[in-house]
Structures are given as C-alpha cells and as structure tokens.
Symmetry: C3
Subunit: 159 residues, 3 copies
C-alpha cells in the first residue's frame, strides 16, 4: 500500500487535491440527481400522471394514476441513482479519508462519476439497447467495490 | 469569492461554527427521516396492509397487500426524503468543506433544513392543497443546486 | 458529556481510532448494499422479470413484468437499506465528528453495522419469522436515534 500522503496532513481538507477532486465530482453527481426530479416532473405533466389527489388540479386530471411507462422509467432511473450514486459518494469520502495514492484516487473519482452520467443518458434520456446501461452501471459498481475492499483491508484491525 | 476562513484552519472540525451548524441540522433531518419509518409502520398496522408474508400474523391478516392509499402516501413522502434530504446532507457537507462565507452557509443550512421539515408536515402529516408542497420542495431543491454550482465553480480546475 | 478527545485534535482523521472504526464499518455496509443489486439481478434472471423493454432480449422474455414476489422482496430489502443504512452512515459520521466517548462510539458503530448485516440475512437471504427482522431493524434504528439526539443536545446553541 502506498502511503504517499503523510498521516499528519489532514486528508479531508482543501489542501488535499484528492479531496478537492472529490468535492468537484460529488457536486456534479448531486446536480445530476436534481435533474432526475425535474425530468420526472416533466413526464408527469406531459402524461398527466399524478400520484397525489392534491396535485390533480395542476393537470386538470380527474384521478390519480401510477402506471405510466415514461414516468416509471424516470422513477427507476432515479431510484438506481439512490442505490448507486449515494453509496459512491459516501464510499469515496471514506476512501479519500483513508489516504489512497492520489493519482489512483483521482482517476477512480473521475471514471466513476462519468460512468454515472453516461448511465443516466442511456437509461433516462435516450434509452439505448443493452449492454450500454449494464456497462456504465458496472463501471461505478466495480469502483465502489474496489474502494470498499481497499478500506476494509487497510482498517481491518479496527473491526 | 469570500475566503473568510483561512485555508490552514480545518473546516470539518468543531472549531468551525459552520460545521457545528451542519452537525445540528443534519441530526434534526435524520431524526425526522426516522419518524417516517414509524409513521409508515403505524399506517400499516392501522390499515392492516403488510407487504411480507411473515408479517401477517402481527395484524391477523389473511394476505399481503400493496395498494393502501395512506401507506403509499407515507412511502412517497419517505422516498422524497431519500431523493432530497440525503443529497442535501452530502452536498452541504461538501459545501461546508469548500469554505463558504460563514453567515451565508449557516443561513442556507437553516432554511434548507426547515423547508424539509415543512415539506413532511404538508405531505405526510396534514396533506395541504398545492402549492404548499411544491414551495417547500423547491426551497431545499434550490439551495442544493446553489451549493452544487458554487462548489463546481470553485473547484473546476480539479475536473 | 465526556470530552475525552481534546477539541484541538482533528476528529475526522486517521489519527482518531473512532474514525478508523467508522471507515471500516461503513465500507462493510456499502459492500453489503452492493450485494443487494446483485441479488436482485439474480432473481430477475431466474424469474425472467424485467422492468425495461431493452432488457427483454437478455432473458428471451416477451414482455416486461413488475410483480414477481421474489424480485419485490429483494427490492423491499434494498429500499430498507436506503432508508436506514445511508442515514446510519451520515449520522455516524456527524456523531464521530462531534467527539463522543471513544469506547461508546466504537461499540455503537459495531453493533449498528452488525444488526444491519443480520437484517439483510433474515429479510433477503433466509426469510425468518418475525420478530427477527423487527429486532435487527430497531437496534440500528435506536442507535441512529441516540446519535442524533446526542449531537442535537451537544450543538443546540448552533440552531
């Protein structure tokens, strides 16, 4: 294991360029997740599919509906983000705090975040045939797994 | 950009009053999210709507059910928290770590957290006519977006 | 309140053994959450239940399906993780940053994480009769609640 950052220097601070890289890419991914809410809302307005009785007046719709295919696709993409982007952000924070090799860490952050951007494009914006979605999914998935195993091995004595 | 906190001082520590403000409000929001589980459980008991076969004995119910309107409303409110409160907490942590102006940052944390408390009240406790829910939703939504853009601009060179 | 860690020492750093314990257990829980995606995917393949039209070719299935009991059980267990593991990780991070008593904090991290591992086993792997799931659920739930109240009381003046 490469201990390139001395243990005395604070890792979760602006003086650590890996942490700065984390701040940038986590903000990009959270901004992307905000867009999912807007995309879902747009589909709800377009297809007049509202889940709450108090929303019906906005769309001049007689009743609540839950089964529109376009709305449900957005909701699945959004839920996939909850299941993968949030663990990626929490895991990467722990990984950065564990003091990894700076170049490796920055590369993983950049690739992992970019793959999630692509995942949203091929899932929610322009549905592409498989394996486009599976590939982009497993890139970030694999990076989170690698980071977790790295931290577990490094801090195993604190079990 | 106001660099009111010197870069040498640790930002994610108890000596930074902005971080203390973050600790307080993130705890309040997480406590609120815990309540959502209890509210959903109460509705499940009251309407005898259980999703797992092994839960049926608790309610002396013959079969699983998934479509109770009250339970589903709680679940939508809870999912909305997952989609918005968790990104708010992660984004605000990154924002605090980026060293924003202390007064602005504390104001955003207080308003963003309070709006989510109101959102739960008008969604899950006392369903109010729109635009009560939309307004409280977009206050926190806008704050998360502002924080994300702020951090992205400030750390753009670490792309 | 025990102030066993002096305020000057950085709490979110590798020199704090409580934070190291947090890094280890948060990685274990995130690794566990990744497994939920794989378990759901395995159930989808086994029961040929696909939610997206572009996935149908993988299973040589004629149409999308949403109501398979095994897939839905995995999805409920996964959603339960989103609702509880992610708040546990965020809350414990804030709790560690607040400088709790080291022994108490490590004990809470270990018990809270282990209870979530058990919860997944009795929910998704080997469905056990209640109250197995309720007990493991409320152990972590109670710990998150305790941590939240602890931090709220300690930082109440930053409201």
């Amino acid at each position: 294991m490469n201990m390139s950052v001395p243990a005395s220097e604070p890792l979760l601070s602006k003086s650590n360029s890996v942490f700065c890289c984390y701040l940038f890419w986590s903000s990009v991914l959270i901004l992307k997740m905000l867009c999912m809410s807007l995309l879902t809302a747009r589909q709800r307005m377009k297809t007049k599919t509202f889940a709450n009785p108090e929303d019906l007046r906005m769309g001049r719709t007689p009743e609540v509906r839950f089964n529109d295919a376009n709305v449900e696709r957005m909701r699945r993409a959004h839920r996939n983000d909850l299941e993968n982007v949030l663990p990626f952000l929490l895991m990467s924070l722990a990984y950065v705090a564990s003091g990894p090799h700076p170049l490796t860490a920055k590369l993983l952050l950049r690739i992992g975040a970019t793959a999630r951007l692509l995942h949203t494009i091929v899932y929610a914006c322009v549905p592409l045939p498989q394996p486009a979605r599976i590939l982009s999914f497993f890139i970030t998935f694999g990076i989170v797994g690698f980071e977790a195993v790295y931290v577990i091995i490094r801090f195993i004595k604190y079990i």
